[in-house]
Point group: C2
Chain length 297, copies 2
Amino acid sequence: MITDFQDWARSRQVRIETSLQTLLPPANVAPERLHDAMRYTVLGGGKRVRPLLAFAAGELSNADEERVTIAAAAVELIHAYSLVHDDLPCMDDDVLRRGKPACHVAYDEATALLAGDSLQSLAFQLLGEYRLADTPQMQLEMVKRLAQAAGSRGMAGGQAVDLASVGESLTLPELEFMHIHKTGALIRAAVILGARCGGSLNESQSTGLDHFAKCIGLAFQVVDDVLDAEATPATLGKTAGKDAENNKPTYVSILGAGRARELAEELRCDAYQSLEVFGTMAGRLRQVTDFIIRREF
Amino acid sequence: MITDFQDWARSRQVRIETSLQTLLPPANVAPERLHDAMRYTVLGGGKRVRPLLAFAAGELSNADEERVTIAAAAVELIHAYSLVHDDLPCMDDDVLRRGKPACHVAYDEATALLAGDSLQSLAFQLLGEYRLADTPQMQLEMVKRLAQAAGSRGMAGGQAVDLASVGESLTLPELEFMHIHKTGALIRAAVILGARCGGSLNESQSTGLDHFAKCIGLAFQVVDDVLDAEATPATLGKTAGKDAENNKPTYVSILGAGRARELAEELRCDAYQSLEVFGTMAGRLRQVTDFIIRREF
């Protein structure tokens, strides 16, 4: 089963990588430097957790994998844009990302800013351009959903709260609010968009999937905090221990590493439970859940 | 006729302002500071040239004004986001915008960055959320069109070329390439989206409108360069003479102010000609054309 999952994950990672290579503007088309920076940012790195979630969620609704690939690429472009902007000096000021110099270090700040902006536009271009859902109306709802997840009441809003929290002591509910937005919203969108590429879900399935998506979004961040606190730059591929250094509240700083790991495990159980309504159709999604929560890097 | 136009323009400016006030997240909803910065950036300023173009273009296809208002708001949000990001220190480094401190001065750089990011997301959210076209399929094409106009082969790409051109001597075709992307793409999108809110255009109408949109987009920039070279901060509402100071190539620096004004007039004639296929339906669009090209501020 583990080997089977690894094969599945690897083939989807290759698929999304190949697809992103084609969907991104070629580096020899003007403006070349900008296109080069966009490709540098997106390609050749990352675990592609959001695409894996989208592919697994697509299995719940028998979604065509071609469609899911485009939807997953759109989500991944939003994720990549957020990393470029988050690393900028006026934000988290980080120089290392996925084991390589951050975009603004490899290029310059203006190019990184514009690369992020352009990646966001490209994500929505894909959702407008390709046929991804059974009806155009359902596809417009995908546009809305991704935009909400990315915007001020989603990912960007979470980042704003995160920045405001540096040096502040947050309560657990405040920390949760921040992460539900900063990381959770886009992870949720990945799950929902993947499933929307296929047939309609009934109400209890929709509710179950949405609750699953919330749990996995939060669990992802809890695990991220644990790994950030424990890892070295070599294992993490980005600057380790940044949160502690920046005096940022994390699940580890509030709960301690042991309790944070327990919390991740509780969220995993909760996530599993909300998938029960799908029976065996959710086998892959359970595997991705384990992959996210029990990862070591 | 002129008075009639002024009344029409004023009422549409009020309409778009009122609409943006409602469409933007309230400043008392978390994250408050981010929402406040988004509202500060978008509301209470600007000539709303793009919305006026959208409203006038909507008359060509008998578009419902409620629909055009939302589509125009989406275009204006993209425009507003681009101004916030362009003013950042790593880009044009400008402290004054529409007679007020730029967003990163009034708030801080990180907030300005996230406000711009969130405004872009909100633009696409509107296009996914409201019914704007006769069919959802046509509306998906609006999503694609706006995304292309905003992205690396549109506005953001033009800004990248603009930044790379500081201190360089550009030829007229190179300058044109830059502006067709930086300013022209979004102005074109405003025209096209406005018209798409109504009934379908036939092929010669579509071709005519697209050519009109190209002309007006370029003319807008030519006039902008003339005004920037001649104006004072008080009349312009932003730092005047920045282009010369930054050693940026402009229509004035390449052609001289007299020839630049002539070019604007030639583009005006070309724009008028391409509207002939619409007959009297294009009356309003001709007035907006004059308003843009013969403005003094």
